[in-house]
Amino acid sequence: MNQTARSFRSTLPRFRQSLLVLLSLSTLSFASHAETISVQHAQGTAQVPIKPAKVVVFDLATLDTLRTLNIADVVIGVPETPYPKHLSHFQEASYTRVGSLFEPNYEVVNQLKPELVIVGGRSGPKQPDLAKLAPTIDLTVNQENPVSNVDSNVRLLGKIFDKEAAAEAELKKMHDAIAALKQKASGAGTGLIVLTTGGKMSAYGPGSRFGIIHDVFGFKPAVTDLKESNHGQAISFEFILKTNPDWIFVVDRDVAIGSEGQSAAKLLDNALVRKTNAWKKQQVVYLDSFNWYLLASAGLTAMQENIQQLSDAVSAHQHH
């Protein structure tokens, strides 16, 4: 089956001609599989076999979603990277390591002869290169529309693996949870998202990586003039005191050191932060950093856990 691909690759012009690649891929896929579907992904369209049995996944969020939909057994290759708790079984030796998130080991991928390769987020840029080896789709979640992106990705996976009913059920669960959280959050007061790293802090606003807390989950931002940008702003403790949020959502960049939120909690525990509403009401939430930035909160379970954590936090205080 790789004959076409090989001869093509050896003569492949060094300048990328994605159109040609795509054409060659579709003929190749048609030759080996009777059933393929045309799939729209972040970097174009691809012909993908239906119910592929050998899948290489570079995207942790997709691994998460596949596991949630009970189709993780088709995965044969995963990247070498730290895994969050709920995905830890992908660390077993039965899964072939196919390189890091950034640097696919093309030789290993080629050896596995996968029927489908899924990239996303950090591995997204490698889609064109991997597409020369096997049908490759990019499921990168666009931060401007995270939820609708998660929707379409989950539906797409459901379609490819013939799990559409399960996908819809999970999505409904997620949307119900979001709606419920939104209702609670709207009356819960203002929130400030703080990233701590190396003893210093930056604040993130709506529209940022963590902005989903404001944009989708409906917590009112404590600061309205935090510009809509991907990056945060360096802030001091006085800034936190002055904005006096009802909730502080903490993303701890230094999770590798000690346990979750430990170093962040130490950092925040000071006379100024203690005077904020959030601290007084014990409404400082240490977000699960794996789910929030390693999975970019784009996997199904990661998303549901995130919603759950925030929802629990709000509920706990509404009973007071």
Binding site: P82, T197, G198, G199, K200, M201, A203, Q233, A234, I235, S236, F237, E238, F239, L241, K242, R253, D254, A256, I257, G258, Q262, S263, L267, N270, A271, L272
Partner: protein, 332 residues
């Protein structure tokens, strides 16, 4: 006993110190009045029950201003001492592997025992920077033909080697970004209770002041020092201890402030020549002033958010330093 500093130029130079001291104090007042929280000096004496203003002063403003002055003074003095010991204008803790070694120490102790109290961390960082600086000195002693540019280059390469080790570890634990945050000088996290280690640095710098003349002698070489009846090895070790200690306290409190040890002593030596006893107070004052000024700029440009002082000093310091360099060249 052995060295009698000329008394006349000294007293006159001490009198001259009055002006920069007043300037530093004025800057301190400005520094205290800047911040996100509600604060003004008039509130302090206004007869209201508002304890918040005093609290802000004591918890946040005063510590930050003090931390800035202390770091600036001690780092500049550390640079001066290194330049005396090595007899090279272009050496300072960040061009001698000292800062990189301190950072490696902090990273390791944070990884191995995250709950270690800050004081112990500082000791570890100090020990590491001491070792790094010792290696640097040992290397220098093995390069007999010490061309002036070779010295900082060896320091930079040594720093690069240590940094490679640090990066290797940080990369493994996904801590490279945190490492960047640690190492860039930034006083936004300084509060009461989180900067006091810097007083140890001041203590060390004061000790160095008393030994000032001896460092000048030590810089002249071992034979010369011994002829004057001083213990060269002990002096050098003491100097290194001071430099390492200062570097460790500053790095652990706020991160590195590049250039300071390089630029301030160089300006002062342009103004006053190389007598250390005479230049130490100037170096300290100018160091404190420069750091204070840069932090004020960093806090104001993007108010209410901050620009870390490491960046401000990096940019302003570079421009200043290049001006000095090229100004010197044009005159030459």
């Amino acid at each position: 006993m052995l060295i009698h500093p000329g008394s006349n130029p000294l007293t006159s130079s001490y009198r001259l110190l009055l002006l920069p001291t007043i300037f530093l104090l004025a800057l301190s007042l400005i520094s205290i009045s800047i911040g996100v929280g509600d604060f003004s000096f008039s509130h302090l004496w206004a007869d209201n029950d508002d304890a918040d203003v005093w609290q802000l002063l004591v918890i946040s403003r005063l510590p930050r201003t003090l931390a800035l002055i202390l770091s600036g003074m001690t780092l500049a003095v550390a640079g001066l001492i290194m330049q005396m010991l090595v007899r090279n204008r272009f050496v300072e803790p960040s061009t001698a592997g000292t800062i990189e070694s301190a950072t490696l120490g902090i990273l390791l102790v944070t990884l191995i025992a995250p709950d270690t109290p800050v004081f112990i961390k500082m000791l570890v960082a100090g020990a590491f920077s001491m070792m790094g600086t010792l290696v640097f000195m040992a290397l220098l002693s093995r390069v007999p033909l010490r061309s002036p540019y070779l010295v900082p280059l060896i320091g930079l390469v040594l720093g690069g080697v240590v940094l490679a080790c640090t990066t290797f570890v940080a990369y493994r634990f996904d801590l490279v970004q945190s490492l960047h945050a640690w190492t860039i000088g930034d006083f936004s996290g300084v509060l009461q209770g989180r900067y006091e280690l810097l007083w140890i640095g001041l203590l060390l710098a004061l000790l160095a002041c008393f030994a000032a003349d001896r460092f000048t002698v030590a810089g002249m070489g071992e034979a010369f020092t011994t002829n004057l009846g001083l213990n060269h090895r002990a002096l050098t070790l003491f100097g290194l201890l001071v430099v390492s200690g200062i570097s460790a306290t500053v790095v652990i409190t706020s991160g590195n402030i590049p250039f300071l040890g390089l630029i301030v002593p160089n300006i002062v030596s342009l103004l006053f020549g190389d007598n250390m006893r005479q230049s130490i107070p100037w170096v300290a004052l100018l160091g404190g002033t420069f750091v204070l000024l840069c932090d004020i700029i960093g806090r104001l440009i993007y108010y209410p958010y901050e620009i870390p002082i490491g960046t401000v000093v990096g940019v302003i310091g570079s421009i200043l330093f290049l001006t000095i360099l090229f100004g010197r060249r044009n005159r030459a």
